[in-house]
Every structure is written in C-alpha cells, then in structure tokens.
C-alpha cells in the first residue's frame, strides 16, 4: 500500500478527531488496552469519550461471537460530546471481533487485524467460510494485518513468562502499535505497568516488551509507515482528570457527606453495572466512610435506612432488578420521611435482560414504581463527570427535604470515561444539616411530624438524643405528633403533605436552559446519559441549517418550574430516549404537548446522526 521505501518517515497526518475501537475475545484484555490508550490520550491533552462494551459472561467460549469484548475511544482536539458514531480504526484480535464490530466501522476506515488468530478454527467459530482478510469482502476498508501472536511470543521470550501466559501480552502489542500510529506518549503506559505488576517482575517485563515490539513494528514496517496526530484539545484552562461515571458518583457521595458533616453509609449488594461504586467507596475507608455488603438487595437498602434513622448520610446502590427488590423499603423511607439515596445504574431489562448494556427504561419505575401514593425526587447525570455534581444534588435534596431520592445513572455512564475539569473542592456548596436537639411541641414534647414551613420537611432527631424519644414506622402518622392514626382525613392530609413537599422542590432547582436556535419550531428534550449524542445531533442539525432547540433535564421529579412554558413555545417536541418513550409519555400527560418519541432499545447509546436524522424528518413534516 505504501509505494515509497523505508525512511524517511512521513510527517504525521493531522486529524482533528479519531475514533478507535479495540475488539477481541473477552480474555484478550481489550478493556485494558482501551483504557490505557485513553489514559495516555488524556495525559496528552485530548478531549475524549469512551464506550466500553463487554459480554455478561466473564469468559464466554473463546473465539465465539458471544465472547467479544470491545472498548471504543474517541479522541479529539476539540470539545466532543460522544464516543463517536463510527470507528475510524478497528483493532480486531480475532475473526469474531471483526464480524461483530464491522458494522460500526466507517467506510474507508482502517481495520488492523491480528492475522495469527484468523485460522480455520477461529474462522469457523465466527461463522466465516472464507478468510475475510483475503477474500475481498473488506474492500471498502483499509485492511492491515500483523502477526501479533508470533511477534508477542518472540518479544517476551526472555522475560521469564511461560506457557499460556505468553500470549496474554498480545493486547500490549496491539496497544503499542496503535500508540505508535497515533503518536501517543509511551511513558504513562510503562509507569502504569510497573506500578500494576511490580517493576522488574516477569509480567511487567513481558507487557513492556510486547508494547515495545508493537510500537517498533509500526515504526519499521513499511505497510504501517503512516502516523496520525491529534493535537491537544483547547479545553478550558484548569486541572483535569479522566473519570468514569461510577467513580465520579462515588466521589460525589463522599464529597456530599463531607459537605454535610455526616458519615457516609453505603449498604449495597453486588450487581452489574453498579458494583464498582461499592468497590470504589469500600477502598476509601480512610475517609471514615462505612460500607456494608449486605446479604441481598433488600438488606442493602434496609441497613441504609437504619443508618439514616441513626443520623448518617445513607446510600444504597443497585440496578433495575435491585430497585424492584428495594421498592418496599423505599416506601418506608418515604413514610418515615428519612433521607436516603438510591442509585439505580440502569441496564437493559426487563429481568436480567442485557446486564452489561445500557438502557433508560427504569424511569417509570423511579417515578411511579412503588405501592401507594409515593412521590420522591428523581435526578439523573448527563455525563460521567456530571455524576459527581448529581450525587451531591441528590444528597442535598434528601437531607434538606427528609426524603428518599432516586439517582438514575446507567451502564453507559458507569463505565464510560471523559476528562473532568476538577472543581475547587474547597468551594463546593455546603449542605446544611441539623439534627434536632430540643423539643418542638407544647410542654416539652417532641413532635416528629411537625413540618418546616418552607420546605415541608420534618425534623431529624436521631436515637441517643435525650428527651426526643419517638417512634416512626410504616403505619400512617398523625400530623405533628407522629402517633399512629387511622383517621381518613388525616391520611388524606398527610398524603397531600408528602406530595407538596416534593412538588415544592421545583422552587429550589434551576430552571431549564434552552440551547440552540431561537427560531426553532422543534424542541428536543432529553435526560440522562443521552446528553452527548443528543446535543451533538442537535448541533449537527443546526449546523446544516435546521433550526432546532434542545433542553436536557437533570431533575425528573419534580420538573423545573419553567418546563411547561418552554414546551409550549414549540410546535413540535422530540424526546429521544433509550426506552419505549417513557419521558415522552410523562410530558404528554403532564403538559398536554405533542411530544414524539425517538426510541432505541438495542443496549447501545444513540448515535448523533440518528438524532439528526429524526430532527430533519420531523422538520420536513408540515405542522
């Protein structure tokens, strides 16, 4: 493909952005290769967004389509919003990886294949009759191959790694080759390997040698004699770190507890894709946080509710099936009016569904999925780093209004990463909490259900406080005294008081801001993790001369005060969601607007062009 002979090397070709997908068997270390490439790109100063995608099985049968794991990273020298619709480069470690990922490769894109894995057995497992690398079926792509296994074996020969472990380093070969191709700094990778595996250990040496071999293979092989350069992005000045949604969420909870001056208590049960929040907080014991791995989902929220009663900032983390199990306790938290945060990292359902894939289909459950009249605040982050601020907001609402709060994240945010401009942690909003210490009723009596005039919240007297002994529970409470009451009028008043308290939060949250064309006839409304692709789709539509506006919601209950007025200004409303139109239904019901749904339930995020296409379609229809 290259006409000229070796050296001098061509100067790198400048690109403003590139999307690279590493794909291989789930045992091939593709998540690691992708995340290392991401970290070195972050250190280099690119803007970036990632999309790790892996099967539910830890080790599906080797070489099969079901076992393919991939990691996509979008790097750019400008402010990007998504992990990229299509891959410009696909690293395919075996035929199955090529087959399952080919449809996402841009026409003319580069396919870099590990030719050693394209043997008869693997081709058969992937369902290829002929070797696609040679049968001409990939003619619309640019195909390059490297004998990654053979070269990795040779590279690690003197490191002391033996037997089957030898080939484990082939992901580092691929990473080295791609790092060369995109002019990535190598030092961060070497440092990471030495820290992770121990400097001088055989495994560390093998990985470094394989990486070097890949890097040098690019450098010395004619076919690869072409490199790309993506300059650092012109991001706003500041200090950045690269962060995933679950990490940001965990840190946000820790920060919220500090701001409130309370101990953080996390009761949880492992469930994909929420588990890494528990793992992250469990390693932060030196912050004085308490984590409790419960015997089941119900106990996870139960211990947290107990800790809330006793005065901690209590959290439970889970995914959809776990929310179902916790819902009875959520209702008790609502009835006892105790602060509690439930984090639902949504995944594709119902039931076990696609446990490692993204969906936004728990919105209705978050809003309405409890017995009785049981409104509570619902918030959702828009990006991995936004999970930090959203966690703090959830804590603020829970503590200020004495209520359980649901935070709806999802699998895409959980594992996806982006650069985060670090806020001034000394300047985070403080969360004021006061535990009751004095009687608030007549004759020195404590009334647990006397409400704050502004917020409607009841006081929080924790066990151990002298003179404020009281009982709470699931039975309906008499106003003020909190005594058990079966009085019908009291039940109605208490039901209304609980609802009014939550509705009143609308006065305490920012109004929605409209992005984009003031001339627009169409408003796009989105929530949660779809922010990046929807905003990119709206931006592209506007750039192509289609005026369209966009509102993205963080607060899903209550909605911002001005949402109804904003909706009323547009003839058409489009609601893209990774579900069958749940927010669209709520908007139609609540505001009587002709909201139209753009639905996707493929266990994958929106692509920006899917949103753009729908926008243009809707604009073409005369209203």
């Amino acid at each position: 493909m290259q006409e000229e002979t070796l050296s001098p090397p061509k100067p790198p070709e400048k690109r403003d952005r590139v999307v690279i997908r590493f794909a291989g068997d789930s045992g091939d270390g593709m998540q690691l290769a992708g995340s290392r490439f991401t970290e070195s790109s972050a250190a280099f100063g690119n803007d970036l967004a990632t999309f790790p995608d892996y099967p539910a099985e830890i080790r599906a049968p080797q070489g099969t389509l079901a076992g393919v794991s991939s990691f996509q990273v979008h790097i750019a020298d400008w402010d990007i919003l998504t992990h990229g619709d299509e891959a410009d480069v696909l690293v395919a470690m075996n035929p199955a990886a090529l087959k399952t990922n080919l449809r996402d490769v841009a026409p003319g894109g580069l396919i870099l294949a590990n030719e050693d894995a394209f043997d008869e057995r693997n081709l058969e497992k992937a369902g290829y009759e002929k070797n696609p690398l040679h049968d001409g079926s990939l003619s619309s792509f640019h195909v390059m191959t490297a004998p990654m296994e053979k070269l990795t074996k040779a590279a690690v020969a003197n490191t002391g790694v033996k037997g089957r472990s030898v080939l484990r380093s082939k992901n580092f070969f691929a990473l080295g080759l791609i790092s060369w191709m995109f002019n990535r700094p190598t030092a961060p990778t070497y440092e990471w390997v030495e820290e992770k595996f121990g400097a001088g250990t055989p495994v560390a040496e093998a990985n470094i040698e394989a990486f070097r071999a890949g890097f040098n293979f690019g450098n010395t092989t004619e076919e690869f004699h072409h490199t790309y350069e993506i300059l650092p992005a012109k991001l706003p000045a500041g200090t950045y770190t690269n962060i995933t949604g679950n990490q940001a969420l965990a840190w946000g909870l820790v920060a919220a507890a500090k701001s409130a001056g309370l101990t953080l208590f996390l009761g949880s049960y492992p469930i994909t894709p929420a588990t890494s929040i528990l793992e992250e907080i469990a390693r932060l014991k030196h912050f004085g946080v308490k984590t409790f791995q419960a015997e089941d989902e119900i106990a996870g929220v139960g211990v947290s509710l107990g800790a809330a009663f006793a005065g901690h900032l209590a959290v439970t983390t889970t995914s959809g099936p776990g929310v179902a199990l916790k819902s009875e306790t959520l209702s008790l938290a609502l009835m006892t009016e105790l602060p509690l945060i439930l984090v639902d990292v949504q995944r594709a359902g119902p039931s076990t569904g696609l446990p490692t894939k993204v969906e936004q289909s728990d919105l209705m459950m978050a809003l309405y999925g409890r017995h009785g009249e049981s409104p509570l605040p619902v918030v959702a982050p828009r990006s991995p780093s936004d999970a930090f601020a959203t966690a703090m907001e959830a804590a603020r609402l829970a503590l200020k209004y004495m209520t359980p709060v649901i935070l709806l994240s999802d699998g895409y945010l959980a594992n996806g990463a982006e650069p985060w401009r670090i806020p001034d942690f000394d300047d985070l909003p403080s969360i004021d909490v006061s535990h009751a210490t004095e009687p608030n009723g007549p004759n020195g009596v404590y009334w647990p259900y006397a409400r704050d005039e502004v917020t409607g919240a009841r006081p929080w007297a924790v066990p151990g406080t002298p003179g404020l002994e009281h009982r709470i529970g699931g039975l309906e409470k008499e106003e003020l005294t909190g005594d058990v009451s079966y009085d019908p009028d009291n039940h109605e008043r208490m039901t209304e008081a609980r609802a009014a308290k939550i509705d009143g939060i609308a006065d305490d949250i920012p109004e929605v801001e409209v992005y984009g064309g003031t001339e627009a006839d169409l408003l796009v409304v989105s929530w949660g993790s779809t922010f990046g692709s929807v905003r990119a789709g709206v931006r592209d539509a506007n750039a192509a001369g289609n005026p369209v506006a966009h509102v993205h919601l963080r607060h899903l209950n209550p909605f911002p005060r001005n949402l109804g007025d904003v909706l009323a200004r547009y003839n058409k409303v489009l609601v893209p969601e990774l579900n069958r139109g749940q927010l669209a239904m709520v908007l139609r019901a609540k505001y009587l607007v002709p909201a139209e749904s753009l639905s996707k339930v493929q266990g994958a995020p929106f692509m920006a062009h899917e949103v753009t296409k729908k926008i243009i379609e809707m604009l073409e229809v005369q209203s």
Partner: protein, 337 residues
C-alpha cells in the same frame, strides 16, 4: 433486681394505647421488658426498638424509647444499620415466628453470623395472628388452619437449632408466663456483646391457644420444663428425678436412677463448638414433651460493628490523605493552561 434506680416502668410506657387482644402473651413480655429496662441505670434514649410486621412488631409503639415499626421480615437488616451507625445504642429487634423465620429468614441468619450487636426477641406463637390464623414456619406438621384445612404439609423450624446453625453467639429460650426467667434471659442478652437471640414461647389465646400448655399448665410444667443452668447437671421433673445425657446420638432424656447423677450432662453454654447446644435444642420440637429453657450457648466473638470501626480507625491512622483533592491527585491529573 435493684429497686434503687432512676426509672420506673411507667417511664418506658409510650402513652399509646396497647391494642393486643386481651389475654395475649405479648402483654406479659411488654411488662417484663419495661420492668427490666427500668431496672437498668441506662439512659432511656440509648434504647432503640426495631420491629418488622406482625402482632409482636407493634411493640415499639408502646415503648417510650426510640423505635421503628418497619417492614415484614426486614427488622434485623434495619437494626443492623442503626447498630453500625451508633455503637452507643442498645438495639432491640422485636419479631415473630412468621416475621423472623419465614419472610425474614435471610436477614435473621446473616445478622446472627455477623454477630451484630443486636438483642433479638423472637415471639414464637406458632401461628400467624395478625392475619387471623394461618400456619407459620414453626407450626407443627399437620396443623389445621384456614390455609391448611386438611393439615399443614410444612416441616417446622426449631428456632434455637436454626440460630445455632447460623453461628449465633448467644441463644436462649424462655416462656412469656415465666417473668422471672424472662427477666434473667433479658439481662443475660443485654450484657452479651454481640447478637443475642431469645426465643420466647408466647401464647396466642385467640388463634393458637394453649400451644405451650405442657410448659405452662400447673399440672404439667414441672414435668416438662428443663431449666438449663450454667455449671449444673441438666435435671428436671417434679422431684428432679429426670436428667439429660448427651452422647454420640445426641441428647436423651433418662431417669437419673437408671444412669447415676455422674452420667448427667453438666451444662456449659460457653463451649466453643455448638454441637452439645444443638443436641439439647433437638430434645423438643414444638414443644411436644420435656423442653429445655435457658441459655443454650453464650460465647464471645468480635462483633461486626467493632471490627468495622477498628478497620476504619486503622485505615484513617495509616492514610491521612482524605480530601477529595487527594483522591483526584492520586488518580492522575493534567493541566490545561
């Protein structure tokens, strides 16, 4: 019990009208608990009562302490959260046979194995009372109730055996009507650092009256109550003529005259292994005959809360980098000018 304390029973009465059926065994237990707490020199606000759902679970409403009437079966989990949040508190769990052993079985066994500092009082009346008379997980097999008109097919749990199998560090049994014994058990449980589990045989005079007749009836109780007393031979009967021996086939009831007093088992609840305690628990299933009453097992093991607090204190002593900024710095950063 000392009488020279700052509290009276009435200090522990909440003022809410007690609404159990007249004649219910729960009244007796409530009085025993209130009297016991009044006898302690412990601040009233340090006691927390957490219950689930069922007749017994209304208990917290009647106590002038902190309390929560929670969800069916979930009290051990919620109480665990309270105990871990504040080790200064004495956390009591009030539960029943349906609440603890049916819907809440999972939380009960895990609280026991973790040795959370909880005092669990299981009111066992061998029936569902609040839903008006269905068989429970401790009802005898073949029991005819509204949901088992031809007889229950369920093999019942023996709560003491279950607790011992779940690694409990303190397991006892008492009877509602025996207030003196109940108080002794409450005191021992209170003083035990860890999960203390007491099964209280409690008569439901409406839906399962006289279930414990052989242990409470004037003419029968002496022949059937086997009091377990520490360091004492396990003997019983109107004239102390009966005893218990423990061998490879478990515990057996014998006539002392037949085996000699030296052969009778000396009770030692502090045995490290629970085997003998388990054998004793198998003597009565029901109760259908002579039944051990008292402390089956009492051993010391670190509580979950102590271990948790120690782990956190250790981590905080070893790593002072506990600001969010530290966290971010360790994660790796870069600067854009």
């Amino acid at each position: 019990m000392t009488t020279d304390t700052r509290y009276k029973r009435s200090d522990f009465q909440s003022g809410q009208e007690v609404k159990w059926c007249p004649g219910c065994g729960d009244y007796t237990i409530l009085a025993s608990v209130q009297n016991f707490l009044a006898s302690l020199d412990v601040d009233r606000e340090k006691h927390v009562f957490i219950s689930g759902i069922g007749c017994s679970s209304r208990f917290p409403y009647y106590m002038n302490t902190y309390g929560m009437h929670s969800i069916h079966g979930r009290a051990p989990a919620i109480a665990t959260g309270v105990a871990l949040a504040n080790p200064e508190l004495t956390v009591w769990v009030i539960t029943g046979d349906g609440d603890a052993l049916s819907i809440g079985g999972n939380h009960l066994i895990h609280a026991l194995r973790r040795n959370v500092n909880l005092k669990i009082l299981l009111f066992n009346n061998q029936i569902y009372g609040l839903t008006k008379g269905q068989y429970s997980p401790t009802s005898e097999a073949g029991k005819r109730t509204k949901t088992s008109p031809l007889g229950s097919l369920d093999h019942p749990f023996n709560p003491v055996s279950l607790a011992l199998g779940a690694e409990a560090t303190f397991v006892a049994r008492t009877i509602d009507m025996d207030r003196e014994h109940t108080t002794r058990m409450l005191k021992a449980a209170y003083e035990h650092h860890g999960t203390a589990f007491i099964e209280i045989y409690q008569n439901c005079n409406v839906f399962n009256d006289k279930a414990f007749q052989i242990l409470t009836g004037r003419g029968e109780r002496d022949a059937n109550r086997i009091y377990l007393e520490e360091r004492q031979p396990i003997i019983f009967g109107a004239n102390d003529e009966m005893g218990v021996v423990v061998g490879i086939d478990g515990a057996q009831i014998v006539r002392i005259d037949d085996v000699g007093l030296d052969a009778i088992q000396i009770h030692n609840p502090a045995r490290p292994e629970p085997g003998v305690a388990f054998a004793l628990s198998r003597l009565a299933h029901g109760p259908s005959g002579p039944t051990p009453i008292g402390i089956f097992r009492q051993v010391q093991r670190a509580t979950y809360g102590d271990l948790m607090d120690a782990q956190i204190a250790d981590a905080m002593a070893k790593n002072k980098a506990n600001s969010i900024s530290d966290l971010v710095q360790q994660h790796g950063t870069w600067t854009v000018e």
